[in-house]
Point group: C2
Chain length 197, copies 2
């Protein structure tokens, strides 16, 4: 039914934001329900396996949305240096808009819960794998040789996740922009006609 679908969507959307900002353990189901203005029974109706299932769904949804947004930005950029800088501006905007709370939709839950929950670990791993696929597609578009793409994509994702963490802790976007600039150069160096160097 339409209303059910709307309720499920509201719960999921609220959960994406809360888990992203607070991590797994600090986020309570009562807070999700209250913020989503959802009736008490609706959470277990839509997510019968409870908080664990909701967190896994939030990781998949939040990860896919951010991946699509960042990938679109990279596709619009003329070269890796500009592309990485544009990605950093988007991520930095989300951080400052949220008072340095909205970092990666994957990292908070991953560090907090992936060690104890196999469904959550698997959801985070799937999220990172899909970011990797998107990025490898873009590296292909920029002409990075096939043998270089996977480890380069892993390095870009790792460094951006770490830079988001440093920026949150310092409450300063400088680490994010510094790291993005280094990554832009690193990727450009693997392109057939290096640009922006």
């Amino acid at each position: 039914m339409a209303d059910d679908a709307n309720t499920r969507e509201r719960i999921l959307r609220t959960a994406v934001g809360l888990f992203q900002r607070q991590g797994y353990h600090a986020t309570g189901l009562n807070q999700v329900l209250a913020d989503a203005k959802a009736p008490k029974g609706s959470l277990y109706f839509h997510f019968p396996r409870g908080k664990e299932q909701l967190a896994a769904a939030a990781v998949v949804t939040g990860g896919a949305e951010l991946g699509d947004e960042l990938c679109g930005t990279l596709a619009d950029a003329t070269d890796p240096v500009e592309g990485l800088a544009a990605m950093a501006r988007i991520l930095g905007g989300k951080l400052t808009d949220s008072g340095y709370r909205a970092g990666s939709p994957l990292a908070s839950v991953a560090l907090d819960a992936a060690g104890d929950s196999e469904p959550i670990r698997a959801a985070c791993a799937r999220g990172y794998a899909s970011w990797g696929e998107l990025l490898m597609g873009r590296l292909d578009g920029w002409g990075v040789p096939e043998g270089q793409r996977e480890s380069l994509a892993t390095t870009v994702i790792a460094a951006l996740e770490g830079a988001l963490l440093l920026a949150r802790v310092k409450r300063d976007l400088a680490p994010l922009y510094e790291v993005a600039e280094r990554l832009g150069d690193l990727v450009a160096a693997q392109c057939p006609t290096p640009t922006g160097l």
Copy 2:
């Protein structure tokens, strides 16, 4: 008194390990006391501001110990490529020995609690700043020009933090070793006589 100092040390050491593996919110003070075999009143005697103070102290202690260990490894290495690879082996060993739980002593607490607690945020920021200082000293030793050192150190720390996260989520050390190899090349490219390229 000797016994007091021992009790404080046992509580702190236990806290370093638990916060590193479980994050802030999942770690309870009763678990710390039980694992440290410390009497109930001793925690508030040694850490009168409770869990927040204990977590901040654990971040500073765990961060300084790992920083010293990794810095010693870098100092023994003949070049950045070998140095970064040796760092990755140490971090990887700690991950596998702990069933992929003991990642960074800073990251778990930082993502989990730095948004809500200023003392914990400040302790994490101090931890990252001290890692940055140690690494910049080493980059100096390898001949990296002064103007390059800060952003290079930030990139190395960010990428290693992110790589530890990816390795934990995938339960696989490959991301850690791939990223370390890229970082070794990145640093070597800034040295006056690039080695290992």
